[in-house]
């Protein structure tokens, strides 16, 4: 029983973080049609900036996160302007190659600046353990779940309630019709990249709290692809559900059956889902209820 609770809480924490990381990916794909293979590196950069803000610059962690958000906004806009916009009209494959290249560049940038040693994220959330139904587990998992859900809720509110959120969804729906509304599609594209990078600051920091600050954050980020393919590339609820499915099965299979199998199981789930629903669980075939 105590193992079960532990695995469940770990799975939920992983899942919520994955959902947050996947949100950025979905955002870019939905609005601009670009498959961003650098989303894992966005997590990596987010984690390092918050770490450097606290450790190197000695900032309070709240300020460090705000710094991370600011850097992410600038990075997102710069990448959209300088890397993606010149790719206008190129084939999907060419664009994918470019984002793969971008991921390599960002990764070596991080390694160039901060090296490869594993570092501990400073104590942003309590590192203590509490006992729940007789099982001890780290409080930071609960915090991770809470923070990820609040961040997801914040993004959801933004999309529903803010003018820019509505405009972004309009562009995702029908780009030319959005132009006719007077919506600046370029600005919306830039905003999508910026927001994706911002969501990665939260996601990356939470990942780093659990596994430390190193290149492994980006490796964890690879699971994002399993999440979005399971949930549907263009569905935000799908990202949440996909995150939880992948997070939980990974823990249960890893904990009860075999840790090695736990690492592979996300991709097995992925293939099974694609066999049944080629567009993912929530992916758009024609109309999707949100």
């Amino acid at each position: 029983m105590s193992t079960f609770i532990q695995l469940t809480v770990n799975g939920l924490a992983n899942g919520a973080i994955l959902a947050l990381a996947a949100l950025g990916f979905v955002l870019i794909f939905k609005a601009t049609g670009v498959v961003n293979f650098a989303q894992g590196e966005f997590l990596l950069i987010g984690a390092y900036i918050v770490w450097a803000g606290v450790v190197t610059l000695g900032l309070h962690w709240v300020v460090a996160v705000l710094l991370g958000v600011a850097v992410a906004v600038v990075m997102g806009i710069v990448i959209e302007r300088s890397v993606l916009r010149p790719m206008v009209g190129e084939s999907a494959i060419a664009v994918i190659m470019v984002t793969i290249g971008l991921s390599a560049v960002l990764r070596s940038l991080v390694q160039g600046i901060w090296g490869t040693t594993l570092r501990r994220m400073p104590e942003i959330v309590p590192e203590t353990s509490v006992s729940l139904l007789g099982a001890p587990f780290p409080v930071n998992r609960l915090w991770a779940i809470g923070i990820a859900l609040v961040a997801l809720g914040g993004f959801a509110l933004f999309f529903r309630k803010s003018h820019y959120g509505v405009a972004m969804r309009a562009v995702a729906d029908d780009q030319q019709a959005a132009m006719v509304m007077g919506i600046s599609v370029r600005r919306i594209f830039a905003m999508s990249w910026a927001l994706a990078a911002v969501s990665a600051v939260f996601g990356g920091t939470l990942v780093a709290i659990m596994i430390g600050v190193s290149i492994e954050v980006a490796t964890f980020g690879l699971l994002v692809f399993a999440v979005v393919i399971v949930g549907g590339l263009d569905s935000i609820p799908g990202a949440l559900l996909g995150g939880l499915i992948i997070g939980l099965t990974r823990q249960y299979v890893g904990g009860y059956i075999d840790p090695g199998l736990g690492e592979v199981i996300p991709y097995i789930v992925l293939v099974l889902v694609l066999l049944v629903k080629p567009y993912g669980l929530f992916g758009e075939v024609r109309i999707e209820r949100v």
Partner: protein
């Protein structure tokens, strides 16, 4: 009525709201679609632009709206001016801000957004003015059915309701010139009547200048002041709507045709709904 090839129509400059002057449009750098098209809309008038499928009516509206770059098209010759200002090089956002709104062929509502959100999106250029609430009340006044469905996802509305929503979106922008591209397309006759009645009311009550593209020449000439007939990317005939309706050629080629059910279906229109990934 004048044969366009010969006489130039001239109204006092201030009276002309929209002036499309000798415009040539090329798609994909090779396909010449508009071949020196000229038309004008006087302030406060209701102008019908008629012509067979493929004549270039939608292209005309897209070139006014600044949409050609999004379809690999360009204005290679000629000028468009609006309200005394040259707008040939404007992008759609600038065009909307200067007072032109377009209701596109095939309605093009944002299917995953609610009716309310569709209207919010349409007010993009006017958020800062804080008038969206009043504008929305006006829209709901003209289209009470939209208010009943304001929280419904637009993809689930009927064709007629989607047309109303498309027109409501344009109304949110408080245009000086409202351009409508085949608003009757694919709608049942009763609904077509309803939509046309609303167009007339908008024109009369708000004084909005209207450029109406239609295949249903009969109905369009009934409500228009002035009409243009287009063939192969050119205006071939123009004149007061009543005179056009009585012209034997027009009766034979356009009024006759519109009765014979040769109109295209909504399905064909979907084909135009290109989604470009980039700007």
């Amino acid at each position: 009525m004048t044969d366009v090839a010969g006489a130039a129509t001239s109204a006092p400059a201030t009276d002309v709201l929209l002036d499309v002057n000798n415009v040539e449009v090329i798609y994909d750098e090779v396909i010449l679609v508009l071949r020196g098209l000229s038309l004008q809309a006087r302030r406060g008038s209701l102008v019908a632009l008629l012509g067979a499928n493929g004549a270039g009516k939608s292209t005309t509206l897209k070139s006014i709206m600044g949409l050609l770059p999004s379809e690999d098209g360009e204005i290679s010759e000629g000028h468009i001016s609006f309200d005394g200002q040259e707008i040939t090089e404007f992008d759609p956002a600038q065009i909307v801000k200067s007072g032109i709104s377009l209701v596109m062929e095939g309605r093009r509502v944002f299917e995953h957004l609610t009716v309310h959100e569709n209207l919010v999106a349409a007010a993009y250029t006017r958020w800062r003015e804080g008038t969206a609430g009043d504008d929305m009340r006006l829209v709901y006044e003209y289209f009470p059915r939209l208010e009943e469905r304001s929280n419904q996802v637009a993809g689930y509305l009927s064709g007629g309701e989607q047309q109303m929503l498309a027109m409501g979106r344009a109304l949110m922008q408080q245009p000086k010139l409202l351009m409508l591209d085949e608003p009757s397309l694919g709608l049942a006759p009763l609904l077509v009547r309803e939509i046309f009645d609303i167009i007339v009311r908008l024109h009369r009550d708000l004084g909005t200048t209207i450029l109406l593209v239609e295949q249903n020449a009969h109905l369009a000439l009934e409500i228009a002041d002035h009409g243009y007939i287009m063939e192969n990317g050119r205006i071939v005939l123009e004149g007061p709507a009543r005179e056009l309706a009585e012209n034997p050629d027009v009766q034979e080629f356009y009024l006759g045709m519109s009765e014979s059910g040769e109109r295209k279906s909504y399905r064909d229109v979907k084909h135009y709904k290109r989604r470009k990934r980039w700007l």
